[in-house]
Amino acid sequence: MANDNNTQAILQVKNLKKYFPVGTGFFKETEKYLTAVDDISFEIRKGETFGLVGESGCGKTTAGRTILRLYEITDGRVIFDGVDITDISQKEMLPFRKRMQIIFQDPYASLNPRMTVTDIVGEGIDTYGLFKGKARQERIYDLLERVGLKCEHASRYPHEFSGGQRQRIGVARALAVEPDLVVCDEPISALDVSIQAQVVNMLEDLQDDMGLTYLFIAHDLSMVKHISDRIGVMYLGKLMEVCGSRNLYDNPLHPYTQALLSSIPIPDPIATKKSKRIILEGQVSSPINPPEGCRFASRCRYAKEKCTQVTPELRKLEKDHNVACHFAEEINA
């Protein structure tokens, strides 16, 4: 795992916010906002995999897309490789788009059914004029082979492929422009168990070969832990805990992380019998105009008065281990 000092951050996210207005009307001023991402900060180091986990609606996908400026940023800064890309124009953004790519969750919806694999993978190459003519075709063949497909697949259409193969096409498309950072937005959730491991191994190999940095977004904590070097846990738009992936499992400090980890069933009947469960009461509250204080307070078994009044900041508790909880020390003492 990378140290604090010797690796530089390729991506810095500072106090990022993304609010969506809800209940807008033609004459009506909107007052309600859905706070999908609310003041999150983290950085991703070159060559590492940063995992972002959380339950549905916690804002992890929105965070990924806002970082790529696929959504307009409400507030905060995104700094990519030392350059602040928060306010630059779409035209100025183009060279950065080449360096930041995305793989989507649903391999059935993210490929244009009327384009052949060559067209899909070649589109980015053409946009940036990277290769022309024969070199372009060879580049596409090379990419297909890298993701475990064959040259003869190049002239086929997406419907001729299985889910796992389609996801491979999505990966080839992302890699075609030689990016530095790839946002993997739930790339394996739609795949069968036996196929998931194929895709994960492929992503790991490609990272080693091409020196990629991943932002890996998923709700499956076991898989995120497997692939990530560091992990951020999100809950209702806020980052609750950020630390090394090994550490997150051995020594979770936030009560939400602890509950989340204990709810994940372990595929081993003997280990399951030994493990202790924390069953969370209630459900995730609404992200529309959330109240002051810790977002998790309503479900937290340690919640005190302060938790409903003051929003906890993400603070460093141990080396490389940040937690947003007022009482983290007491709870874990």
Binding site: E55, S162, Q196, A197, V200, K225, I266, P267, P269, T272
Partner: protein
């Protein structure tokens, strides 16, 4: 122990305009009183169609072609719609993956629950309502008396699933079939539901068939497991046998392809090569033969019978034949822990 359910050589196919999709191809298993039976498999393995066949819910163009389903000594295949209607909901109840689409959005929860209860019992409307409130209370819906008048859209995913469970158990069924009941839910809610169902089983004592692709949930809740692949049963056994003494390359392959949260060292996953078979045109032999690294010629030609390893632990693999080469894969088992 009494067998409450016996499925024998079940074959269910769907006749589409493209051809016959053989969703279930001769599966057999038994279930005893008090078992929580897990059926695990990937999409297209035939696990849901098996459940729907038991419930008599296979609709055109699908049909049960062959086989018997004996429930409590009674043959279910071939029952008329009317006869099956008395079994379904009363003796065998089912809950589904997506509670939003399985609850009717234009009727209140009360309406839907009372309908089920009155159909199968002699209760008056008032008694049925009281019973419904009681059931909602049991599944942990707060202020059940008020919430019973809600409509499905007013409930969250977890609460809808609770309401479904309350409805399913309202007539005290002997068997509850749960088809991926937690797949659409978040893990913290999944933990609540699993916990709830375990508690309800101790209270009501019904048998449960729990269908899922998630080996974690299987380990958590079931006592016996059936592993399905390509419409066939690959292995059956107790949950410990399936997880720790598996004798089938597919089961072992599944174990090795999922990451373990509690493993100290990061290990590379061992995926299963290739992709699941096309059920329109299934392989002649073992459905797993095209992906199995131990496949022999016989595997490609003929599906293996279920070999008995110990009582109740059966595996459909030619490697267990006495004349088969001894492969250490089956002995070395899943990654050392």
């Amino acid at each position: 122990m009494k067998n409450i359910l016996e499925v024998k050589d079940l074959r269910t196919s769907f006749f589409t305009h493209l051809g016959e999709v053989q969703a279930v191809r001769g599966s057999s298993f038994t279930m005893q009183e008090g078992d929580i039976l897990g059926i695990v498999g990937e999409s297209g393995s035939g696990k849901s169609v098996t459940a729907l066949s038991i419930m008599g819910l296979i609709e055109k163009p699908g049909r049960i072609i062959e086989g018997t389903i004996t429930f409590n000594g009674r043959e279910l295949v071939g029952l008329s719609d009317r006869e099956m209607g008395q079994v379904r909901g009363k003796e065998i109840a089912m809950i589904f993956q997506d509670p939003m689409t399985s609850l009717n959005p234009v009727y209140s929860i009360k309406n839907q629950m009372v309908e089920v209860i009155r159909r199968h019992t002699n209760m008056s409307r008032k008694e049925a309502e009281a019973h419904a409130i009681d059931m909602l209370d049991k599944v942990g819906i707060p202020q059940a008396e008020e919430r019973i008048d809600s409509y499905p859209f007013e409930f969250s995913g977890g609460m809808r699933q609770r309401a479904m469970i309350a409805t399913a158990l309202s007539c005290n069924p002997k068997l509850l079939i749960a088809d991926e009941p937690t797949t659409a839910l978040d893990v913290t809610i999944q933990a609540q539901i699993v916990d709830l169902v375990k508690g309800l089983r101790d209270e009501f004592g019904m048998g449960i068939i729990w269908i899922t692709h998630d080996l974690g949930v299987i380990a958590e809740i079931t006592t016996k497991v059936i592993v399905m692949y390509g419409g066939m049963v690959m292995e059956t056994g107790t949950v410990e046998e399936i997880f720790h003494k598996s004798q089938h390359p597919y089961t072992i392959g599944l174990h090795n392809s999922i990451p373990r949260l509690d493993l100290k060292q990061k290990e590379r996953l061992i995926p299963i090569k290739g992709s699941p078979p096309d059920l329109m045109n299934p392989p002649e032999g073992c459905p797993f033969s095209t992906r199995c690294k131990y496949a022999m010629r016989v595997c490609l030609e003929q599906a293996a019978p279920l070999y008995e390893i110990s009582e109740g632990h059966n595996s459909s693999c030619w490697l267990l034949n006495e004349s088969a080469p001894k492969v250490d894969a089956i002995k070395t088992q899943v990654k050392a822990r």
